[in-house]
């Protein structure tokens, strides 16, 4: 519960001033958007955010050039992350507590080096691309806000 209250206060603070946005760093799937996983390599990340009503999206560009977007529900919980760019991001950090589940889950029977689907009751990871070009998304099906289609996230 304390987490929820903490997050709610940060949510309000974020809405108060755009100046705060550059201070918000990278969050992690399933965590409150304020979790700011301490990631030194993100200290130079450029961050922008927008409020789209049913969810909020925060975009970071990693030093590698890869762009990471995190989608927060109105309750502040990150329900989806996406990435695109020349290098895959550190998924252990991006998926947080869900990384081990992602790593242990059975791969789909038609997965190959350039395509992957992991589908668990509480976690979906889909990724594709080729060398020097990576794209993917991970989301928590039960945390997706009503009315939001993951396939249409910008």
């Amino acid at each position: 519960m304390s987490r929820v209250r903490l997050n709610a206060s940060l949510w309000s603070a974020a809405l108060l001033g755009a100046a705060l946005w550059p201070c918000l760093a990278h969050a992690t799937l399933g965590e409150p958007e304020s979790s700011v996983a301490a990631e030194p390599q993100l200290s130079h990340a450029s961050i922008k955010a927008s409020d789209l009503g049913t969810y909020r999206v925060q975009e970071s560009q990693l030093p590698s050039g890869t762009v990471v977007r995190e989608y927060a529900a109105p309750n502040g919980k990150i329900f989806a992350v996406t990435w695109r760019g020349p290098f895959v991001p550190n998924l252990r950090q991006l998926l947080g507590a869900y990384f081990d589940e992602y790593a242990a889950a059975p791969k789909g029977p038609i997965s190959n080096h350039h395509h992957l689907e992991v589908r668990q009751p509480d976690l979906v990871v889909e990724a594709g691309g080729h060398m020097r070009a990576s794209a993917g998304r991970a989301y928590l099906p039960q945390a997706v806000p009503a009315g939001v289609s993951v396939g249409e996230l910008p």
Binding site: N90, H115, L116, G129
Partner: protein, 413 residues
Amino acid sequence: MSAAPARAARTAALALCALCAAACGGSSLNGSASSGTGPVAPANNVVSVSVSAGPSSLSSPALNTLYTTVTVCLPGTTTCQTIDNIQVDTGSYGLRLLAPVLTLSLPVSTTSTGSALVECTEFVDGYSWGPIALVDVQISGETASSVPVQLIGDARYPTVPADCSSGAPASENTVASFGANGLLGIGPFAQDCGSFCAASIPEPAVYYGCSTASTCQSTEVAINVQVQNPVTLFATDNNGSIISLPDVSDSGASDVAGSLIFGVGTESNNMLSSVTVVPIATSGADTGYLTTVFNGSTLTMSFIDSGSNATFFNDSSVTACTQNGFTDFYCPTQIETLSASFELADNSTSSQNFVVASAETIPASSTAYPGLAGVNPASMSFDWGLPFFFGRRVATVIEGASTADGTGPYIAF
């Protein structure tokens, strides 16, 4: 030699590329009569390829996976090994060999500070860890000397760094988990990382210097030391390659034979007629991608890739599969023929049909199945995998390489 002049030259070449592609895109490269699809006559620049089941150690036969045979030698010697079941991949760059199948004893390359040079290759479905070594590469009659290649799963470097294992779900350091005895990356770039890794270190990193078998530190690596697309190092026919595969019945087929032809427009057997040239972006957020227009959407993160085993696109009107493990694939009750367009250099488009069939009813004997199609995890992407290559001659021209139809990188068919 300093890398700067080479970089400047390449930048100039890439700048020229845009002009040339604009001037030449869509023109015809009329050649000999060898414009049919499928296997071509044996020649110095031709190696057989097959859409086959792959190594016998795989837990299930490979599907829509293209294999060939490569010979590697200790540099400057006739001590060589011929390795089959090497996957042919236009979506990666450089030769990678599974160390467990190697009988050659290859010295490991070193960094500028004398550590062993070891690479982490992040594929979408797994990471592959292993050292870099130099080999002479022989494919068909083409040879390249002292080519940096990756030896995946080499017992000399058994410890995968934590950040390497943070970019993909599982290790792919054995033939069974990798799906092949090696990977021949002949895509449109000359190195597996390029200028970025010469000056910076991504996270997770690509290259590491290992002072002991298990003490490794990520490092920058000069461009010419990185794993190289071997085609660029051939003495001749080094501007790209053509994959020629026959048409495959919608019901599927097994062991589909074709040819990999080196060079584009350099020999009588590698001319393309009525060619469609699809440019690949070399700068900006869409670097490495081409553009496909589908259902009214302009998808700027699209690619044509022999290493993808299906056509991956998004269309909610196509019935999705329901079986566990297949839910990201399409399962129309009847085969559907759809159409999408490539955006060309002059902003015109070229329309291409493709088929979508049920991923749940693939005949067990099939190793090639044109209708395999699934959801693309990126909303701005269309991945034309191996099914696109069936019944076509698809040319992949490497960055900075000259052809009569313009300067690479581009794909033509």
